[in-house]
Structures are given as C-alpha cells and as structure tokens.
C-alpha cells in the first residue's frame, strides 16, 4: 500500500515543475489582486520628473497601490478608443478644452464634489466653476511674453500685439491644434468686439495680426522667444517664469483686459474600476504640500487657497482672490461646438 503512494523521482520533478509553472503564471494575478493599479495621464518635462521622483511614489506608498502614468499625447483619442466599461485611464489630466470634449462624449464625469474629494472645499471658485468639468488643480495665466532687450515697452493690453513694429516678429499659435491659440482668438473677440464669443470681430483682429509667426505648441513659442525669432507672443506665465534666474531677456506681462486661464484639470472616467483610488488621487493632488511642491517646480498657480508659496513664487503667481479675479475662463463647450467652422475660417485667414 505504501509503495503505491510513494512518488518516483521523475514524477516528483514533473509535479514540482508543474506547480512552479502554475505559480509563475498565477503570481501576477495574485499580486494584482493585492495591489491595485491607478491609470492616469500626466505631463512630461519638469512636471513629469517631479511626479515620478516624489509625488507618485509617495502616493503609491500611502494608498498601497501602483500608478501607471501615461505621458504620451494625445490622451483623448486613446480614451475614445478604449471600452467605456474598462477605460484606458482612471484619471484624465488635460487642459479644460479637452475635458469638455471628453465630457460631451461621456468619457469623463461632470463634476467632482466635496463628497468624493474633500479638498475641493478649499479651492478657488474658478477651479469648480460652470466653465469646468472635473476639478482644476492648477492654472496658468495666458498673457504676453516679450523680449526685454528689443526696446519694447512692457505690454499693457492685448492690442499691443498688433503694434506695426512687431510685424513678422509677433508670435501666436496654429489655432486648430493649440488651446492657447483658441483662447487668444476668443480674447480678440472680447478686446475688439462684443465679447469672447464675437467671432467676426476676432477674425478681423486676427487678420490684422499678420504677418505673425505661428507655432503648434507652447514649448516652441518659448524657444522662439528665447532665440529672438519672436519679440512678443502669446504665452502662459509658467512658460516664461520657468527661465527665472537663468539670465534670459524675456518677461511676462498680464494685459489690463485680463489674462486667460489655462487650467490643469483632473477628472475621473465613469467606467473606472478603482474610482475610490481615483478620487483619492485627486484629493492628494489638491493637498497643500503637494500643491506647493508642484507649483514651485513648474510655476503653476495652485488651485488650493490654503497653499503658501515662497515669496518669489507668491509675487508672480495667482495666489490671492484679487489676482485670481483677473482670470478669464473661456467657454470651451461653446467653442468646441463650433470648432470645425472656426478651424476652417482661421486656416484660410492665416494661410499665405
């Protein structure tokens, strides 16, 4: 009887190998069951460096999870092509215009409230205004960047960009592909016409800005300003302030008509399987210490009212209710609904 239950050496080896194979195949799923993964989108550059080095490891440790961060644009088409009940991202980080596109297609939630994210209680009103889907965690101010070595007066109005002296050395964006260009177009409607939605006035003013150097992303505008290819151009404050202390002859000016908001918005996908973790991540990103770290790393204005920045940053960024009141938030829902017509019109205006 005993001999019948005794394993031969070969059989023991075979069984052992089988068990090892099962363990090897099964281990990741067991691990997965224990450690949840939060899938997010995030920026690259300095922001990405700070996120990878400090912010995300601390979040993973505290929430006992892993974060899979996608830095490769474009995010929305990837989300569009993934199943709604198993989206490629749990948290979508984009600018406001893309959040509105995603919301229109049902890819993200409409509002993030105090109930889900307690730190929403401490944000400035613009962060959760009716112009926002999701919640704003930071904002930049879109205004005018200029060279300080070209004998130019500090710009005080958006109209200064139309100064004939700047012909060929003023800078803007390829409007169909850049939200700063789109926001600037709306601002032209406000400055030269009846308001942000006065497209006829905006088109006329855009025509008057020719010849203008156009780029498709802000990094390129920074390079053009630094090289002197452009003397004055539309840019966000962080795109200029990040060269603070590097002895570059560039500065940022906030026009008297107001600065446009370039919001960094976080939102949760309705089909996310880890919604509690996603809300936890947004809450974490709104914590004063995390906000301070990131704001000072990339010169973004924090959305949390309680954040106290060092004097150098506090002097330039939008950190008081009075400064925040100068922010103008475009109606991206309105713009996106007309984007195809606007794209065609501005392409014709700017071509040639």
């Amino acid at each position: 009887m005993i001999s019948r239950h005794t394993m031969s050496r070969r059989k023991a080896l075979r069984t052992g190998a089988g068990l090892a194979a099962i363990a090897a195949v099964g281990a990741p799923s067991i691990l997965h069951a224990q450690t949840r993964t939060l899938k997010i989108t995030t920026w690259g550059g300095k922001w990405g460096e700070v996120m990878k080095a400090t912010v995300l490891p601390a979040f993973e440790k505290e929430f006992k999870c892993t974060v899979s961060a996608d830095q490769a644009f474009p995010f929305v088409p990837k989300l569009q092509s993934s199943p709604r009940n198993d989206p490629i991202y749990d948290v979508l980080h984009t600018n406001s215009n893309e959040q509105w596109n995603s919301f229109t297609e049902g890819l993200v939630m409409e509002k993030i409230t105090i109930k889900e994210v307690p730190n929403v209680a401490d944000v400035y009103p613009y962060a959760v205004s009716d112009k926002i889907v999701g919640v704003t965690i930071f904002t930049s101010a879109i205004g005018l960047g200029y060279r300080t070595d070209k004998g130019l007066a500090t710009p005080t109005s958006w109209k200064d960009l139309a100064d004939p002296k700047l012909a060929g050395v003023r800078g803007g964006y390829i409007i169909p592909v850049n939200s700063l260009g789109q926001a600037h177009l709306m601002m032209l409607g406000k400055v030269y016409g009846k308001g942000l939605t006065d497209l006829d006035a905006a088109y006329k003013a855009l025509e008057a800005l020719k010849p203008i150097k156009l780029v498709d992303f802000t990094g390129q505008m920074e390079k053009m300003l630094l090289s002197g290819e452009v003397s004055e151009g539309v840019i966000h404050d962080s795109g200029v302030y990040r060269y603070d202390g590097q002895n570059q002859p560039v500065d940022f000016a906030s026009p008297s008509e107001g600065v446009l908001a370039l919001e960094q918005v976080l939102n949760v996908t309705p089909g996310s399987k880890v919604k509690d973790l996603a809300f936890g991540y947004i809450d974490y990103m709104l914590r004063p210490d995390v906000q301070k770290l990131l704001a000072e790393a990339v010169w973004y204005s924090p959305a949390n009212k309680k954040v106290k920045l060092d004097a150098k940053y506090d002097a330039k960024l939008l950190t008081t209710p009075a400064k925040v009141a100068t922010l103008i938030q475009p109606d991206w829902k309105w713009y996106n609904a007309r984007k195809e017509d606007i794209d065609a019109r501005v392409t014709k205006i700017l071509k040639g």
């Binding site: 644009f73 474009p74 929305v76 088409p77 569009q80 092509s81 993934s82 199943p83 709604r84 596109n101 297609e105 060929g168 390829i174 169909p176 592909v177 150097k213 156009l214 498709d216 090289s227 002197g228 290819e229 984007k339 195809e340 017509d341 794209d343 065609a344 019109r345 392409t347 014709k348 700017l350 071509k351 040639g352």
Partner: protein
C-alpha cells in the same frame, strides 16, 4: 490479366494521390513569403479596413452605441464649404511631385556615379555618405534645417551680416522650406533604389552604342536611361509615397503656409477628436495616390515599351 489491369489502375490512382498531395502541400517559397504577408495583413490590410469602416460611421461604433452609418465625412470633403480640404489635397500632391522630381534629379547622377565606380573603397565611402543622414531621426534632421533656414538661422544671419539683404529671406514656414527638408530626407531612398538597378545594366551595351557612333549623351539617353526606368519608377514611387504621407517635416517647416492631408488627419485625430473624418481623409489620400501611381506606371511603361512595370 485482370490483375495486371487492376495494378496499373491502382498505380495511376497512387500517382494522382501523390501529385495531389504535392499540389496541396505549400511550397517552400510560400513559407518564406508568409511572414511578410502576415505583416502586410496585420499592419496594413487590417488597420486600413478598420479606418475605412470608421470613415462610414458618425462616431466610434465600439465605444458609442449611438453611432450610425453615414457618408457625411466624404460629403464634407467633396462639398468643402470651408475651402481648405481640396487645397490641402492639391498641396500634398504638389509637394510630393516636386520632392520626387528634385530627388530624382539629385539622386540619378549620384546613383549612376556610384554604380559605375570601380573602386570598392570609394563605393563604400560614398554609400556611407548617402546612408549617414538616415541614421539620424527625421525630427532631428528637420530641427537642423530649422536652425539653418529660420529668420535668425545660419543663412539669413550670414546674408544680413554681409549686407546682401536687409531683411531675412523667407526660407522656411513655406513650401520652399518644406521641400528642401523633404528632399534631404528622401534622396537616400532614391539613390539606393537607383544604384541597384543601374549597377545591373551591362556597361558593354553603352560601349556598343558608342562604338556604333553614338555620342556619350545619346548612348546614355537611348541605352542607359531606358534600361534604368524600372529603378526610376521604383525610386519615384517610394519617394512620392513617403513625401505625401510626411507629417513631422511639413508641420515644423511649413508653418501656416503649408497644410497637407496628413496634417489635417493628425488634427482631426489629435485635437478635433473626429476619427471618422480622419479615416475618410486617409481613404481619399490612398485612392488619389493609387490613381497617380497607376497613371505613372502606364506612362513609364509606354516610354520603355513594356507593359506594366510595377
């Protein structure tokens, strides 16, 4: 007797079975072609099929249950109420044609020289020189051209400092700059294709023509050039296809003066989030390109006296 007949019938049946078995067994060539065919199906036929299907839907049918079948993306292109889509198509083809012609004009003499070069070392060195630019990414090469051609670039800075011109010349953010960069990027493709074909042309044919009284130019025009037409066709098609599908270089070098279909497609996918219209533009670009390729093939075939070269 009957045994003999039965046996011969059985043998015939066996032979037929064996022949059928051989016929049904894939040839070794088929096995060799299979990976390439699989790649073609996976990375061209399948994506193109999906793209074509998407172009007939109002939105993504996988993620949006309300998506309906429609031809509105094609109607939008055909009607072109905005007046930019037909311009973009024409601009794409024009840039493709000019880039191909200039690449051919630069590439042919170089390829001819390389093919006829006696020195192995010399051939290897020239080949290295031709291939060297391909070792750098297209984005890097385009940025290099930007530093050369921009208003504050090498050429304009020199011209202004020498007093040749007071204002910078418009060397980029237009079709000129785009074509310059594209030619630089695609000339190696033309040279490598032509070198192989010209190298296989028997030099003695040209020598025979010259011994019969033809001058150097006539011998080239009547012997070498017609025999190298397959290379011209292959190189031209390669460069044309690459030029009309280029995205990075026209985007960076063209500014707002250049709008090509690949740029419009990227715009539709990346910022307008309209994959249906992007798909329709892709299908239109492919169909127009195919029509041009067929026409070009026929013209060259007629010139060389052959039927269907590619």
């Amino acid at each position: 007797m009957s045994f003999g007949v039965d046996r011969s019938i059985a043998l015939r049946h066996d032979a037929r079975r064996m022949a059928a078995a051989v016929r049904s067994r894939p040839s070794p060539i088929a096995w060799l072609i299979a990976p390439a065919l699989l790649l073609f199906v996976l990375f061209f036929v399948l994506p193109f099929g999906v793209m074509t299907a998407m172009s007939f839907f109002s939105s993504n049918p996988v993620s949006n249950p309300n998506a309906v079948l429609t031809t509105r993306h094609y109607e939008r292109f055909i009607v072109d109420s905005a007046g930019i889509f037909h311009d973009a198509l024409w601009s794409t083809l024009r840039i493709g044609f000019i880039t191909t012609i200039i690449s051919l004009l630069i590439g042919y003499p170089l390829a001819h020289w390389m093919a006829r070069m006696q020195s192995r070392l010399g051939h290897a060195l020239v080949l290295m020189a031709v291939i060297a630019p391909m070792l750098t990414g297209i984005v890097v090469r385009t940025f290099a051209w930007m530093t050369i051609l921009q208003d504050k670039g090498v050429i304009n800075t020199l011209l202004i400092s020498w007093g040749v011109t007071a204002k910078p010349l418009p060397l980029m953010y237009n079709e000129f700059g785009t074509i310059v960069a594209l030619v630089h990027i695609y000339v190696p493709f033309m040279v490598l294709t032509l070198t192989g074909v010209i190298g296989r042309i028997d030099e003695r044919l040209e020598q025979a023509a010259r011994s019969l009284g033809a001058g150097r130019l006539r011998a080239f025009a009547e012997v070498t050039l017609p025999l190298s037409l397959p290379g011209i066709l292959a190189g031209s098609l390669l460069v044309f296809a690459l030029s009309i599908s280029a995205y990075v270089t026209p985007s960076l070098m063209g500014g707002t003066d250049v709008l090509t279909l690949p740029m419009l497609i990227a715009q539709q996918v990346g910022t307008s989030f309209n994959p249906g219209f992007a798909g329709a533009l892709g299908v239109i670009l492919l169909l127009v390109s195919l029509a041009i390729v067929v026409a070009y093939n026929r013209i060259l075939a007629r010139l060389s006296g052959e039927r269907g070269m590619a």
